[in-house]
């Protein structure tokens, strides 16, 4: 039983990261109907930025964290402006290819700048080398796992308040439902798109920094984005709470499969879930049936 709870907590922590990446996919998809295949690479770049600020420049962890998130938000809106906006209106395929290309590009550039070694960020969560866990009875939870869960919850609360309470948040919801009508309600739709990409990149950066203690930072860390896809689909691509819940479910399943099932199942578990979801409930857990008028 203890093993089970132990794996469950680890799974939830891993799932939070999947959930945050899936959230990035969903935000962009909902507002602009573009699937951003470079979401994982944004996470990777976020990690590298944080490394530069915190380890390389020696800034305080929290200041470095904040700077990295801001840099990624700026980068996100720049990508929207330079790469995505000019090809909006062309077939979906072009945009998908553009984001895949962007992913490759980001990986190589990151390799050129930061090298191909695994990089590490010291966090204030690990109090010492030997004692970086929290013990509850005989349950042992690593500090970085707790930091991931707590930070994800806080981020979600902020995002929830932003989308439900602020003028810009509501404008984003309106834009995602009907772009044309949004224009004539006085909503600057293009600025909304830029902002969505900024938020998405910032969330990816957040996830990248949280993930850094567990996986270290390297150029291929972005492939974790492929695991976030099943999470987004499971949640019903287009539902924000769905993305997070989907992420956590995938994380837990993966962790439990790694522990209880024969070797090899850990890596395919997420995709088995993906296939089953597409098979039995293609709208996902929180999916809304939406049809477009022709």
């Amino acid at each position: 039983m203890l093993d089970f709870i132990q794996q469950l907590v680890n799974g939830i922590a891993l799932g939070c990261v999947y959930g945050l990446i899936a959230l990035g996919f969903v935000l962009i998809y909902k507002a602009t109907e573009v699937v951003n295949f470079a979401q994982g690479e944004l996470l990777m770049l976020g990690g590298f930025f944080a490394f530069t600020f915190i380890t390389f420049m020696g800034l305080n962890y929290w200041i470095g964290f904040l700077l990295a998130v801001i840099c990624m938000a700026l980068l996100g809106s720049t990508i929207e402006r330079v790469v995505v906006r000019p090809i909006l209106g062309y077939p979906q395929f072009s945009i998908v290819m553009a984001t895949i290309g962007l992913g490759f590009f980001a990986r190589s550039v990151a390799g050129m700048i930061w090298g191909t070694d695994d990089l590490k960020i010291d966090t204030p969560f690990s109090r010492s080398v030997t004692e970086n866990v929290v013990r509850i009875g005989s349950l042992v939870i690593a500090d970085d796992k707790i930091s991931i869960i707590v930070a994800t919850v806080l981020l979600c609360i902020v995002l929830y308040l932003f989308f439900s309470r602020t003028r810009m948040g509501i404008a984003m919801q309106a834009t995602s439902q009907n772009m044309l009508a949004a224009y004539y309600m006085g909503i600057p739709v293009k600025r909304v798109f830029s902002l969505i990409w900024a938020i998405s990149a910032a969330v990816a950066c957040f996830a990248g920094i949280l993930l850094a203690p567990s996986t270290l930072i390297h150029t291929n860390v972005g492939f974790i984005g492929l695991k976030a896809f099943p999470a987004a689909v499971l949640g019903g691509f287009g539902s924000i709470p769905g993305a997070l819940v989907g992420g956590i479910i995938i994380g837990v399943i993966e962790q439990l499969a790694g522990f209880y099932l024969p070797q090899g199942f850990k890596d395919v578990a997420a995709y088995i879930v993906l296939l089953l979801v597409l098979w039995f409930k293609p709208d996902g857990l929180f999916g809304m049936k939406m049809r477009k008028k022709v």
Partner: protein, 252 residues
């Protein structure tokens, strides 16, 4: 000076002249209707005014200000609202939420105060809600207030779109075929509302419409178009008896 003026506007798609050198002026407080057979360029003119298309030539002037080059999202703030022929509402939101989005262009609070829900924000929200409730009462939408748009009948959606446009407190309201898809009774209600919008709210209406009964009931002046060109202008009776208009409709 007219409230809204269109001068020598043209819109060409390659060789097709969707709108060809059209000029007209809408006076404050009137209902001005554009009629014409399918493809005459009526909706194109609306899309030009709401800045969806850039005109090939000509200018648009609203309250003395040249709006020909403005981006589309600034049109609402100026005081021009519109409805669409095929209804463009936020389908997965309630009627109330749709109308509140109509207040977007009048919101001045900022993100930080909104997140903290400060008294100033609360006061502004109450004022918006009051404005929306007035529109709900005006158009008799009380019983649909909390329903999702997706679940409402077409006729009610049509009214909701007019309501949302009114929530932006426009000076000029563009109605793109307000009667399309409505039955006789609903069309008659629409005629009442358009008259009320003009008389009680003092809003100028520019309308595109096919239903000649509705046009005759509410319009002060009519402009007939065909193939992007102006055929005739004047009172409904004058335009309808104009030989070119009869020819265009009957193919004579």
């Amino acid at each position: 000076m007219s409230l809204f003026q269109v001068d020598n506007i043209s819109l060409h798609f390659g060789g097709l002249r969707a709108v060809d050198d059209v000029s007209f002026a809408v006076e404050k407080g009137e209902v001005f209707t554009i009629i014409g057979p399918n493809g005459a360029g009526k909706t194109s003119i609306f899309n030009l005014i709401s800045r969806l298309y850039n005109p090939t030539a000509g200018t648009l002037t609203f309250e003395g200000q040249d709006i020909t080059k403005l981006p589309p999202h600034e049109i609402a703030t100026l005081g021009i609202a519109r409805t669409f022929q095929n209804i463009e509402l936020f389908e997965n939101a309630s009627v109330l939420a749709n109308l509140l989005v109509g207040r977007h262009c009048h919101t001045t609070t900022n993100v930080l105060t909104e997140l903290l829900f400060l008294p100033s924000v609360r006061k502004a929200e109450l004022a918006h809600r009051r404005a929306v409730e007035q529109v709900i009462e005006f158009l008799g939408l009380q019983k649909y207030r909390d329903m999702l748009i997706a679940g409402l009948p077409y006729g009610v959606r049509k009214v909701c779109e007019v309501a949302r446009a009114l929530c932006t407190e426009p000076k000029l309201l563009l109605l793109d075929e307000p009667s399309s898809g409505l039955n006789v009774e609903e069309t008659s209600d629409m005629a009442f509302w358009i008259t009320d919008i003009k008389k009680e709210l003092g809003i100028t209406v520019l309308m595109v419409e096919h239903d000649m009964t509705l046009v005759n009931r509410v319009s002060d002046r009519v402009l007939a178009l065909n193939y992007g060109k102006v055929l005739a202008g004047g009172t409904p009776a004058q335009v309808q008896s104009h030989p070119d208009v009869i020819a265009a409709y009957l193919g004579g």
